[in-house]
Symmetry: D2
Subunit: 436 residues, 4 copies
């Protein structure tokens, strides 16, 4: 690898970006970053300018030698990049608000990454990301693309199947689980080993170990007893201890949408009546954040960013950069092709799992036997995901309908069809290739 | 094979039995049946007597030379039998009524073979059938067991995994589909070829052929246009043409419980308010039938039996006997171990599929690529089925909870647990090995 | 299907053709053949003329209404054909003689379809057959191609992977096994059921059944006791009874090349010294046959053809035509994609197996568990086959070397390389796309 | 884990043991070994005493606090051990001499771990090691068993399938490859990453990486150019550069027995004529070593041990102890159940592969697509291995015959049977459970 690193950040005007900059600055002794190029679309120019200015102030404050570029020129950003990071949102927060609201009209979970909301996001995102991948193939064919764009598993599988870009999908959920479980077990995070397996936002810590002891049952007991095990942006519906015991694996916070449908739907509906959807709350937070970022005296990541829900986001991605660049061969939880890890699943299906990361890339760890309770749900959701990818790439109404009808959060095909038609209508601008 | 055939019918006092007797009498030129032994439990003595007397009158009328035995002695019935047929119902129609009513209390589909109802039936049935299998292993080890006992797929898989009995699971749904589709295509049933694949009561006619032409799309169009495609005992909610077109495979009538949950649940609730559950209606029909059977002048199957919902039941099982005994190597749709037919599924998972049947047994036909929309649902339901079998065999509350939580008709674990507790309470008498 | 059938026979000038014509004439009541178009290359014009004239006399003799065409115009032959049959030999019998002689120089089995000889034949044949397939795709896209061209399994897999033609690979070995085993068991052939599985010329009758009884052990005992179990064109080295008993499955005659290498190689070397290779013997037989065919008084298949070694060749292919055209759904042993039949093998690997054939095509029968002794060899030979196909299609020396090195009949890579170089030199005219 | 470690060494009287002791003494800062118990059989008492005395002198010299026990009491050695290491040889070097000589009589490779020699060793070893495992299950159920006993892959699979002992199979070949390749690439060993995959003594470095660059082709070029790439105990037949290039993966030294049969067999025969087999040479070396070990002034591992052929043996096993005890999560090449790593192979087939080792055990790394040239040979050899295990456990002549007939080094069943009968006769004393 080169001795200097260029990072390209697609969707650089995101409110999360200061966290990424802070992460880079903390790691300069082992990550020789010399250029960061933030790129965004025209509608994001203003935010991009604010973020770039803050970045320059942050770099200057610590006296680092990093060139900060910000532009609407995606190809310039990608050219010769060592790592391309994606964190954009097609349609912005308004599209997210729609994704959350539409399903609720039909008494179905409205969530930005799972269920019909995640489906709509995937339809909007896949064509754009495949377009970006063509630029990477042409301009930085050896670059690693670290994809944070949600639904991260679906998007990563689309990239793996329809481009030659080296990509790894990433999510902050597994890191958060590591931190929360370590805290409840009163153990340093690096002494807790989680064997994670599943799909993005449907990942189980199949087994938890401390010092060679399997502590899974103990962790489940604590979670069942009500210890904190949620993330900022997910309603913390308590877990039933009997269910956790029967499951025998630690669910991720997002599993509530699959297992505790009634309570989660009720909460979403109540909360939509009160304060609007999660997207609407985020819009307010964002406005406040950009207000802060604009302060010319600010030269560091403001504390308030943490309430935004993206904890460990920067750490997850920069630790991956570190593992690749410095050939660490450390274990990370990532989204990569299955390749036999879950033996009944196709080799090219993207899963989220514990994997060793080094300069040669990512190698999932074998996981052995899984309960049918886990593999059954994985197969069902993967079927939804693969149909969604095909629908997005082919612009096929039929595939889209079967995708939604296969999603376990959509209990009925009549509702599936009504929701699909509503999504297609509402997202008309972003689905030009989509035809009925 | 022997030149004379003994059939043992477990649950011989069933109201369906006259149809079976009629079927045997029709086939005497190629099936040399010389003994039929009907066996039942003490509570069924009265019905058994009525059925046996009718059987004797029917045999006498056609001048056949068949010994009719009826007893409570299961071992005597099984001893040296060539074929053992099972059609019993643990707990009788009252248990079925419970199976249908309990889920409705929790706004969940109440059906005797799918969802929580079928789950309860499996828990009651599996220990009994494995007990019968021990008798067969000891007293008629070469006998073929034809299992009609529902949920037929689950029960057949339990037998395959926990006994050495040669068994084939059987259902009248695929035969009915063959008949209904042939009728709507105005083609003789034997000129229509359906490639059936899936699980019991979750089987698709993956492709339909007439004269070497793939007519699947045409059939789907007719079904979508409202042609009759339901069975006597399932509410005929119309199918959405767009959905059928997107699915690209012909669903079975029971698929309505998975795809059209809202309408089916609404109908069940309405109908429960009006006329009681399906079980209650059946109890009335049965009473009427046995009234008829008792008529000493009756020496044939009464027409009224057909309204009972078991069309083609006798044909399905006796055609199988014929295929085995006479080495026909004809194609039947049966429940047998997968053995690679659906390549992502375990070899020992029982599936329902088109298979060749001869004197050497059953060989499924390879089916090739299936859409994720089909395999996803199969994996999810098979996970439920396998957990159910383990729960029944081990008497495990945890496995039972995970089974119900994995069933796609049970949308939420809180309801899953409430339903499970209700089922265990209500079926206490039939689940002696079950412990919490 | 149409009410009249056109057959196109590629390599129509073969000495086997009269058998095919006889087969057609025997089946006219259920196969309405109205046209047979024999096509060959320029070098075969003379033989083609002789065969066509004989065909016309045979047709006339029975008063059939079949148009006999013979030409060098492949496209005319294929145009609108219902079935295309291939039986050509690239390079003719001289190429076969080379295939048999080259390996012997290196102390390796020299055989026209297995080992290095079959490899050379595959390299010559695959480009030609894929070219033919392009014509079929364009001119008769609904036609079935019945491929007899050896190595039939390799060639069929190449067609399946690199064209869209509907094809079935066919061989007379399984039919011959059926006949020989029936004879030794003194049972009518149609009452013997063989479950065949493996690869072409590496096929086992995994189990043999008569009247529902597994008679595999009995058959093995008879074969071990020296009963005739060979084919005209394979040296009848006796089988060791202990080995057969340990194997527990009935090997095909060609298995001798894999299991009895020493004896087969010794015989080949002795026989090459005496009477020349098998190809040289066949050339003499052929010359005699064409002498006979030229007789203007001959209007039927001459008896002498039977000594040519292609017994049942015509029956095997015309029974397949019958099964497809008349939707017989009968069981045949054919070469088709695996699709889960051998569960550890890729779905698109072509295997030779018992399968049901009807108007919708071919569906292999599930076979269940196989001994590692069988699957190990299948995997090894399939690896050789797949590398051979890739070598032929890509013209890759590396793939060709790995193919030969992976063939179990080639015990050493130094010899593999020497043989490969010899084959490439000798077959230079037929391997234009092949580069080093 | 405990704060003090007990090691049990089965076959403690081996001439290798001083290397192990040295390895322990080097690692005392992070491996708190407080007891080593060497155990051997009665015939080995003399050697055991010599080794134990040397061990005590070595421990004393560095002032370590380690209790050295030596006894014939296997149960005492195993009781409460943390790690059990096996390095015994049933039948001693005389049995090895037989293993090497018998096959040569039939013109077949005679080698102690592959081919018929390894087969004979497996038959002798498996019953003994399963007996040891019963002791471990009873007396040290949490202990890790590190199995060096050859054939290590076969023996490890037998343990995995027929006991509940936690075991890892180990070999010094992959470590040696790492060292040799690093040397030829002039790179520190820890900067070279090999992705190893295959079976024991049939392992390929599928890909080699330095600093994120795939250097496989470069390594192959150097090996083809004649750079040292062999081990002390294997004849260094040069590799053909064209073959290596076509293979595209780095073979292990033992691959010469499969790929370069002619040269290896010729060398073995020549060498047997001259200096006796390898076993006979080793006997001499051993006698010299024990002479040295007996010297009461010796208190360290003598340099001469290195010529014995077991380079890195101690490092390989103690690095594994370290990785487990200290939860290093480092990558080692070990023999463990496949679990999807090679997707066409059974989950419970033991493979040799790169894997992460931590306090929770071993997790293989996914390896992705492999060439058929690799998987074909793996399947063939695994078939041999699995039949060998079944033969050993069941004492089955039939399975033994099929095992040998399936071994690619045995080209013919007549020879397979002759060799088998010779092996059974010669090893009569060690195969009490074996019956014909």
């Amino acid at each position: 690898m080169t001795k200097s690193l260029k990072l390209a950040i697609i969707g650089g005007g995101s409110s999360y970006t200061p966290e990424l900059i802070e992460g880079v600055l903390k790691r300069l002794d082992h990550l020789p970053v010399t250029e960061m190029h933030f790129v965004d679309i025209e509608a994001g120019q203003h935010k991009l300018d604010i973020v770039a200015a803050l970045a320059r102030r942050m770099v200057e404050k610590v006296g680092a030698n990093i060139e900060i570029n910000a532009s609407l020129d995606r190809r310039a950003a990608i050219q010769n990049a060592d790592f391309v990071m994606t964190q954009f949102r097609v349609g912005g927060l308004q599209a997210r608000a729609n994704d959350e609201q539409i399903p609720l009209k039909y008494d179905v979970i409205g969530q930005e990454t799972t269920g019909p909301g995640g489906f709509a996001k995937a339809l909007r995102t896949i064509p754009v990301i495949l377009d970006i991948c063509q630029d990477i193939e042409a301009l930085a064919p050896d670059a690693w693309m670290l994809n944070f764009t949600n639904p991260a598993g679906v998007v990563t599988e689309a990239i793996q199947k329809y481009s030659r870009v080296k990509t790894i999908g990433l999510c902050n959920v597994p890191v958060s689980m590591q931190m929360m479980i370590a805290e409840m077990m009163s153990c340093p995070p690096d002494q807790l080993s989680l064997e994670c397996i599943g799909l993005n936002h449907l990942v189980w810590a199949h087994r938890a170990w401390i010092g060679g002891q399997d502590v899974t049952a103990e962790v489940l007991k604590k979670v069942g007893d009500g210890q904190n095990f949620s993330m900022n942006n997910i309603f913390e519906e308590p877990w039933d201890p009997d269910f956790l015991n029967a499951l025998g694996a630690i669910p991720c916070p997002y599993h509530r949408y699959y297992y505790q449908v009634d309570a989660m739907l009720a909460e979403e509906k109540a909360s939509a009546l009160e304060g609007g959807t999660r997207a609407q709350q985020v819009m307010e937070t964002e406005a406040e954040l950009f207000e802060l970022y604009s302060d010319e005296n600010l030269a560091e990541k403001p504390k308030q960013l943490e309430s935004r829900g993206g904890a460990y986001y920067s750490d997850a991605s920069l630790n991956l950069v570190d593992a690749i660049y410095n050939d660490r061969k450390t274990i990370h939880v990532v989204n990569v092709p299955n390749n036999g890890t879950i033996s009944s699943l196709d080799d090219d299906a993207v899963i989220e799992c514990s994997a060793v990361v080094g300069s040669w890339g990512v190698r999932p760890l074998a996981v052995g036997h899984l309960s049918p309770a886990i593999t059954g749900l994985i197969h069902q959701v993967k079927a939804y995901e693969q149909l969604t990818i095909e629908a997005a790439v082919e612009g096929s109404y039929d595939k889209a309908l079967m995708a939604l009808a296969s999603n376990p959060l959509v209990p009925d095909i009549t509702r599936a069809k009504a929701i699909l038609d509503d999504i297609l209508r509402t997202n008309d601008d972003y689905l030009p290739y989509f035809s009925r």
